[in-house]
Symmetry: C2
Subunit: 804 residues, 2 copies
């Protein structure tokens, strides 16, 4: 078990003493005590549930100081040796003597956890320093010891003491001195400068607020704002019915070049409502809603949390548009209300305006997937007040979500989904039947427009997609940015974050990037990473202006190792343009030097028997297995599988693998897919983090709980792992918005950028490259009788390789 | 979607009006209003989050009354037709017009949900009656509408009103009028009349209490008590290391007959501690602990919840014993403190006694698996104060958990586990290192004693197991009983509940049985069953003496259908002795009439190639697949697979399938395993309930949330499903405690009772019987060269079949 922490702020002893006093952990007398007496004071504070002297003593008797003595056995003037200190420190963090460390040699595990080293018997001041480090160090249950103490009631006296300073920071991070039993929950309706349902009135958008009860007494707090189109419910059954059939043929496209201009009919924006009635406080309360644990954590620590689902969702006006500028306007309108530049009303009658009087106007956006996408969208407007976004697994261009290089390519796990399906799924406005009745005609028109404009017929990049490409507005960004993405996220694929990361290079904001080995998941409950603390450091810095050096302390890039569990590598960059390329040639497998053989050709045919085709449709993982298994499978002859010799030394890919292929199709149509695969019988990380403990972390005191998870090595070895992939319509070999004809039998040289990666391919493993056509997991499946001929002499793979 | 409810109490209109007034839903004037005005009053109460007239009106505008009009469009003196009523009713429950019902014909779905039928335009009194039914009916999110209103704040005014009667019942069930933000959490140490660690002092046992804050003001409440040895932590790594090797040969056993008497050295019980200091209130508080949602639900409704982990757990004295009478004493001691017959102390120094002054002395025990087992154990003592147990997936005899008919047979999923492993895993006392140090010698001795006495060498039923068979004490039971078990629970197998159910027949207590299609799971978050309401009805009746007729209203037996989703059948009994048997003969497959053929023999050999054996050890599901697949597999020749012809009509098995086999072994050892299998390509229920919605149910108001789950049909058809199974050591063919020799080659007639079941085998399906030896999932795996010869003429299966 390795507890990696990146959010511990280096401090001076003076600061440590001051901060310990601030949270009442020590007082002015403590440093005057002899070491053993001071130790007992510190231990007593470390068991807040023990209210009596007897129970405090019992807890001390439960702690081994040496291999034979408990703390209760120590008698003055006992010295506190480094070993005694480390033994207590580790036990308090939950490490078990005999099981996880040796009482005779506790420092043997100091590479697994932040453990201050002493070379002499500890003075009282040493003890105080050691205890400060204890408080900021993670326990084996995934929280700092101070957060663990919180869940055991440590902060209760401070929470209920009106003289407690609020906010209160410790080691640069906001602490839970707000009363979570008195949170105020309320809804308001922001008037957004748009009329997306063309009813002649500006759209009113429901905003759900949870704020510390202390704000009622005049305290102002910054805001974590999550824009979630899912938060008011989803229309799953209707969305499923609208799913597009992906078992359709690839068809020949008419040559085109570039995006054609569309005459967008801009209807004038209606005037804002005239406000005549006096301002009133919000009066609609909130019931049970879906909440995110990262947000919940901050509610106890002096932040408000705001959710809004946007246009076309329940209790809001407007129509769903799936990522267009209208949706961005609706996302940003909430920030404008929080900063006082747009009005909101107490209800949808819109008589009484209501202000966010409790907001400091400093806003961060949080969320994953569509939620993180809208955070990115908002940032690209440069809106005032949005200080930072923590954007996880987010889309930066919707074309890259539903299309790829002129092909309809589904997000992994969602074949047949498209912008119209997502719009319908999130159109929760219709869950109020009266609204559904009122709006149904306009909604049908809107849905048809999405279906038409997304243009599944060609898969080309067009004006519709161009309007949904946030990367074009990156230069407007003023908010500092934290990006989080899974390197195995085949739903929102790594290209989304990579292209944004590249585009941000020249933008003068601070940006941080965390790449984990997960698919489309949250990481704030990982044991091996102090993600929550990192975000606390960051948000205390960005929203409360705490001088904690977060921008310097947090690594620019942090990448989870794909081969070693519980290992995170700080880096200065990812997918840097200057990373040297290593070229692999597709001859006799994969070689790093071009072999002096004659040109050879290889062929594969895309069409399967009806029976095999039907089987794979319902057994996608079997298809993937058969595709990537190098021995003979039903897909032999339907793919080209190249393997390198076992590597002499590990290589670390970092960036975008670039594939160059000379290919001919027997028809005037064609597609090319490619997978990069790690071959080697090896215990790999599991596909998903394992649950280590349920209800492990309380985010406050008897408040919200979070499960503890982390990646573990799979119990058995597996033969391969997917590294990256890519797809291309051969008609779009020049660009996604440029269509060229294909002459049957005539060779074309195409370049295909695979999904970006960071991957350690260990020594002894083989690099694999698979060329194929239909990707059952992602592309349309025409099962057409097309034979592809590959010129092996010119097939090459350029891999960005980090040198140590 | 079908919302089955069994806990709706039939009421009179008079009662409905009285109860609606009691919860302030209507007042004395409401029944005097014209129908439309009354409807608006009722609707306004149904949106507690809407505090303003404008928002209330907005909510009404969101509800369609007819296919064209919203409620807001209705104008006095509009009549409220049955259709209007049903449309509103269904919408409030979350059914979507157009999607889940037709506004023109809402009554078409009244078989899916409790929906009062009216044949005339509704009077105001009709409306009041209808709304009462609405409040007790489940929404599509798995709670009553009244519980849904709770999570939206309905009860907040009553919670904070000191004049609110507490407890408060509605439709016979306790309601959430207790303030969950002021719950009191504390620990005490009960002095148990035992000295399981032989230190000369009675064991002190930590008890963790959560009780409504209102009890501080003198209100007394009954108690839900969960005895959970896991609740203070587990030693998973140490337990894993102690796991026994199951890849060991079956060995010949010396003939024995019956249990030999053991001279149990009864050390005298030390005297109770002398109490000299005055009584004090509890002073140790609680941090984050593992809590169960069924218990949490009742905390808001006027019950206290108590957890205790028992002897040998963290902060308690004693040693773990895995289910023996010492553990039962420790379980019951907590009840004795709650009823005032045993002392507890504020801390482990045991100076100050402390009383459960807030307890009415009425106790129910809850919990699943080991937790439910201890509830059963406690009930068999006949202890005063224990009014009922809700025992889920519980063990009634530990022999049936770790052994079967003279064989070591593991709980499914835990090969190699035994009583010693479980004792070590739950010995959380050692998680206080000081305690581990103090007790380590005694603990090692105790663990060795368990390892010896459990006797994996023979697998026989002996005095050790006899002391862990709670069914012997069933006659002492005074508590009424609710039993819940999964018919596909191969961990704690269905025999555990069936033998207890049979033993309870003559015991004069009320007993209820719920059998679901799950494995080893909780069912209180199922959408298709109002389990929580049933338990509320039951506990209100048993612990608060509410005259709600729960004993009559709840069906004696309730069984989830294995073929139709969301279907629960009330029955009068299960596995009744008088159920007629249908005999199947093992000739030419399975026949219901003995064929007039000559005697035939069939053979199978148990030994696999080393490679196949090694593969199956790490791929148990592959082994199970190969065993049950009727075509040729690597196990062909290592099993005997018999199939009936497709059934002409469905049959319903209900009880214990009895197998009779004449068998010979080529060695003086041998084991026989059997599986009963349903063959038929069919969309079956999934193995686990699907998650329908996360954070769906709030158990109070901004309190604890629960996910919504239910069984759904698998998306694809599967070829077979396991119905039942059994295992037997041929040396124990007479009894688990009687060992006989086996003469190689000589036939023996053995009877094997398979696990009890309730299973609908649909028409067209085939019944399958598989005879084999080593069960890779459960038995030891000797991989020995034993050939078994079966006499087919005398092989028969007696199935209890329900006749309609």
């Amino acid at each position: 078990m390795r507890l990696n922490q990146f959010a511990i702020t280096p401090t001076t002893l003076e600061t440590e003493v001051r901060e310990l006093k601030r949270i009442h952990f020590i007082d002015d007398q403590t440093s005057q005590l002899p070491p053993l007496a001071a130790l007992i004071v510190l231990l007593d504070q470390s068991f807040p549930e023990a209210q009596s002297a007897a129970t405090k003593r019992n807890r001390r008797a439960g702690l081994m100081a040496t291999t034979t003595l408990t703390v209760a056995d120590l008698e003055a003037p006992a010295t506190i040796t480094p070993t005694i200190f480390a033994n207590l420190y580790l036990q308090l963090l939950g490490f078990e003597p005999g099981e996880q460390f040796d009482l005779a040699d506790p420092y043997a595990i100091n590479h697994l956890v932040n453990l201050p080293r002493f070379t002499h018997d500890l003075t009282t001041i040493d003890l105080i320093h050691g205890w400060y480090q204890l408080l900021v160090t993670h326990t084996v249950m995934g929280q700092t010891y101070l957060d663990d103490l919180t869940s055991r009631g440590y902060f209760e006296p401070l929470v209920h003491d009106p003289t407690t300073p609020r906010p209160l920071f410790f080691n640069g991070k906001a602490q839970p001195v707000y009363d979570v039993t008195t949170l105020i929950r309320e809804a308001v309706y922001v008037e957004s400068p748009q009329d997306s349902d063309s009813d002649g009135q500006r759209d009113l958008l429901k905003v759900e607020i949870t704020r510390p009860g202390e704000t009622a007494a005049g305290i102002k707090v910054p805001v974590l704002y999550t824009a979630s189109p899912y938060n008011q419910g989803t229309n799953d059954a209707a969305g499923d019915r609208l799913m597009h059939d992906v078992n359709v043929p690839l068809t020949e496209k008419r040559p085109t070049s570039g995006i054609s201009e569309t005459s967008s009919s801009t209807t004038p924006l209606p005037a804002a409502r005239t406000i005549t009635a006096p301002e009133e406080p919000a009066n609609e309360t909130l019931g049970n809603g879906f909440e995110y644990s990262l947000n919940d954590y901050f509610l106890a620590r002096g932040f408000a949390v705001v959710y809004a689902a946007g246009i076309g969702t329940k209790d809001s006006d407007g129509l769903r548009t799936t990522g267009d500028p209208q949706e961005t306007i609706s996302t940003v309108a909430v920030i404008q209300w929080l900063t006082g530049t747009l009005p909101a009303f107490t209800d949808r009658q819109a008589n009484h305006p209501t202000r966010a009087f409790w907001s400091t106007g400093n806003v961060a956006m949080t969320g994953r997937s569509y939620l993180g996408t809208l955070a990115t969208a908002a940032a690209t407007t440069g809106i005032d007040g949005l200080k930072t976004i923590i954007s996880e697994a987010a889309i930066s261009s919707w074309y890259d979500y539903y299309r790829e290089n002129g092909l309809v390519v589904a997000p992994g796990g969602f074949p047949g989904e498209d912008t119209d399906v997502l719009a319908l799924e999130t159109f929760s406005r219709q869950q109020r039947a009266g609204e559904a009745h009122k709006i149904q005609e306009k909604w049908r028109t809107q849905l048809n427009r999405l279906t038409h404009d997304q243009d599944r017929e060609t898969g080309n990049y067009n004006a519709f997609w161009d309007a949904r490409n946030y990367r074009q507005n990156v230069a407007h960004i003023k908010a500092d940015i934290v990006l989080v993405h899974g390197l195995n996220d085949w739903n929102v694929k790594p290209r989304q974050v990579e292209r944004l990361w590249q585009a941000l290079r020249d933008v003068p904001v601070t940006k941080k990037l965390i790449l984990h080995q997960g698919p489309h998941i949250y990481i704030n409950n990982f044991r091996s990473l102090d993600f929550t603390d990192m975000m606390n450091l960051w948000l205390s810095y960005k929203l409360y202006d705490v001088d904690n050096d977060a921008d310097q302390l947090l690594p620019p890039v942090l990448i989870q190792d794909n081969a070693k569990p519980e290992t995170w590598h700080p880096q200065t960059d990812w997918a840097a343009p200057e990373t040297p390329l290593q070229t692999w040639y597709g001859q006799n497998g994969l070689l790093t030097q071009q072999a002096p053989t004659h040109a050879t050709e290889s062929r594969f045919n895309d069409q399967l028997s009806t029976q095999t085709f039907a089987h794979y449709i319902h057994n996608l993982s079997q298809w993937a297995h058969d595709l990537m298994t190098p021995t003979i499978t039903p897909l032999t002859g339907h793919r080209l599988l190249l393997q390198s010799a076992p590597l002499n030394a590990a290589i670390t890919m970092d960036g975008v693998p670039q594939l160059t292929v000379t290919v001919a199709s027997t028809q005037p149509i064609g597609l090319l897919s490619a997978r990069l695969v790690d071959y080697g019988l090896f215990k790999r990380l599991g596909r998903l983090p394992a649950t280590l403990a349920g209800q492990a972390m309380d985010l406050g005191f008897h408040y919200r709980k979070e499960v503890l998870r982390d990646y573990q090595l799979a119990p058995t070895a597996s033969p391969y792992q997917l590294i990256s992939l890519g797809h291309l319509n051969l008609q779009n070999r020049q660009a996604p918005d440029v269509v060229q004809p294909i002459v049957p039998g005539q060779k074309m040289t195409v370049q295909l950028a695979l999904q970006p990666t960071h991957y350690v391919l260990p020594a002894g493993h083989q690099l694999g490259l698979i060329l194929y056509a239909t990707d059952f997991e992602m592309t349309i499946r025409g099962n057409q009788p097309i034979t592809y001929t590959i010129d092996m002499a010119t097939t090459r793979l350029d891999l960005p390789i980090l040198t140590k």
